[in-house]
Symmetry: C2
């Protein structure tokens, strides 16, 4: 923990330990004035910043750009339209052309300001320009703060296949300021809580207890509870990523709890019908039901998970699901090995395991339990 | 060295040592019948191969595909038009869509069959699909055999900026069969010799002596001399890459001897006027002249280099050069740091060094010496 930040009890730093690719995650509320200092501390001498931001958070991006300019660093900024369609080959190419046009070189730094779409897209741009330049994540949604901005997965979509193209590329710094969510709609905010609950289920029973006790304050965005929840989420993610940076040992797969179901829900419902976190919430319910059906955990896991998700005002069923269409999508998921279905399933609150070669009939029954 | 291959004096294996990313380079003449076995030895169990090939070498690609199919591996193949324009964002996107359509997954393997354009493009596709799948390089031009297929640099072009987008992504195997060059035009073949001569100048004085003595046999494509020259070139490149895989220590930069000039020649002459190796030949002459002007080596270096390049029937001047246009291009080169010109310059045959902050007037004089 950085000593300067530690002196303010409202701020803290989580470290992602990846050898020479390690980086800090700063978590604070109302710390824009300290961004340039943290940036300089993590990156050293920077001559040129390429700030790529979600058009919806322009004022926030401008405040950060002003902070960086204070240090006499040249800043070029590009707005990207909000929403999943921006994670395209076309947008990727446009940003790269723009960077070349702005005179970017190997020492330029990309700063991504926005939610997961911007972080994933700008991260892949940074990974690919001149075969990789440094980048900084400034997440402005809860989902991005607790999930996509940490861990180095970057990427874009192909038609019908999310995140099918990308790179593992770690940021130099993740800067989380909960004030960035000031204009975030409630539905988006709440959807981010699904990933927070996920960390409790997969890796941290004590944190899950905390969420059971503090769900109301979290829903109301109490700053202290929120910072603590983000911190515990980032710590859990950092632990898992530190053990399996490139998803080779299988350990990192536990982060996909509920996600194979969620991706199939999102793909068949049409992206945008449900927010990602909403689909993850329903997907975790399906995964817990599947675990119970396969005799891997008791019914109490589903009960407690259901209560916390409901307290976080998240959907736990999806009556409009096109069940017949979901299975083929799951078979095409990039986590499928040799055409066999695999799932991350809980054994108890705080622990999950990878279960291979699951009978599709059991999967369908688990889906139907939440439609 | 692999014992099976070592028993045939006409074949050999060079190892690129990069820890868990190490891989072998097989060098042979007429060994297509042994490709599938080498493939299986390096990659283990493979269910699906995506063969991406230059349309100009279709028969060669088909022979390899047939070899892989003998092992009951599913092979999908895509032809890519010959030439630099294929290294585009559009072609990159098309190949990724094609792979998804063919049911590629994380265990699929990309096999690149062609020259540098195909290897760079298919390598970046492999690096990016599902955040990175395995790939194999089967170079079919001399330039690709001694340079681009070894070392893990992959990438595509932006308008006016070669290799501006890409990834470091190492192959699992490089398979060099000199018979693949059967249909390679003389001019293309000879242009590859420029990179061969380069290795002598930058890293191996004994090999340079060998080239002085054997240039005629090399020009006539004597199989034994050719295999030896390829082997020494790959050994030199493997050494340098092993010391500086991601171009972070500066060591790898020595491979760019002559290239900052060459890129500027290519860009201002219009890509295609000169072959890459031809531009490198002229670029090395300019670099040697610059080194002499700066007092870093004696005139003998240029004299010996000139003689070998001429014996290899390579151009040593470019009278059509647009000198005024070249300097701004060099300033935009992605190896430029903070706008200062840096060059790899010889101190003697077999040794080069990085020289920073060179006076543009000296650079211009060195260019004019070879126009």
């Amino acid at each position: 923990m950085n000593s300067e930040l530690a002196s303010d009890p409202g701020e803290s730093t989580v470290s992602v330990d990846l050898g020479d690719r390690s980086y800090p995650i700063h978590i604070a509320t109302g710390a824009t004035g300290r961004f340039a200092a943290a940036f300089a501390r993590s990156l050293g001498d920077v001559s040129h910043v390429l700030l790529i931001y979600d058009a919806a958070v322009e004022p926030w991006a401008e405040a950060l750009a002003a902070q960086i300019r204070v240090e006499s660093t040249r800043v070029d900024a590009a707005a990207v339209p909000s929403g999943e369609p921006s994670k395209s080959i076309a947008q990727f190419g446009q940003l790269l052309d723009w960077m070349l046009d702005r005179g970017a070189d190997r020492r330029s730094v990309v700063v991504a300001v926005g939610g997961g779409v911007i972080g994933d897209l700008a991260g892949f741009v940074a990974a690919s320009f001149a075969r990789g330049i440094r980048f900084v994540q400034v997440p402005t949604t809860l989902l991005a703060m607790v999930d996509s901005s940490v861990g180095g997965k970057t990427g874009i979509n192909l038609s019908g296949a999310k995140n099918m193209v990308g790179a593992f590329w770690q940021p130099e710094l993740v800067w989380i300021d909960t004030l960035a969510m000031k204009t975030l709609p409630d539905r988006s905010y709440l959807s981010g809580l699904a990933e927070v609950v996920k960390y409790g289920v997969i890796d941290d029973a004590v944190f899950f207890d905390y969420l059971e006790s503090n769900a109301k304050a979290l829903v109301e965005r109490d700053p202290e509870v929120l910072r603590y929840a983000i911190r515990q989420s980032c710590l859990a993610k950092a632990r898992v990523v530190g053990e399996d940076e490139r998803e080779t040992s299988g350990r990192r797969a536990i982060l996909n709890y509920g996600h194979t179901f969620a991706h199939a829900i999102e793909a068949t419902a049409g992206y945008g019908t449900l927010l990602h976190g909403e689909a993850v919430s329903i997907g975790m319910q399906m995964a817990a039901s599947l675990a119970i059906r396969l005799g891997r955990c008791d019914a109490g896991v589903l009960e407690r998970q259901t209560e916390v998700l409901q307290a976080c005002r998240l959907p736990i069923t999806f009556p409009e699901a096109d069940v017949a269409a979901m299975l083929p999508v799951m078979m095409r998921d990039k986590k499928v090995a040799h055409g066999k279905l695999r799932f991350i399933l809980p054994t108890k609150i705080g622990h999950v395991e990878l279960v291979g070669d699951v009978d599709p009939a059991e999967v369908e029954t688990a889906i139907r339990a939440h439609c």
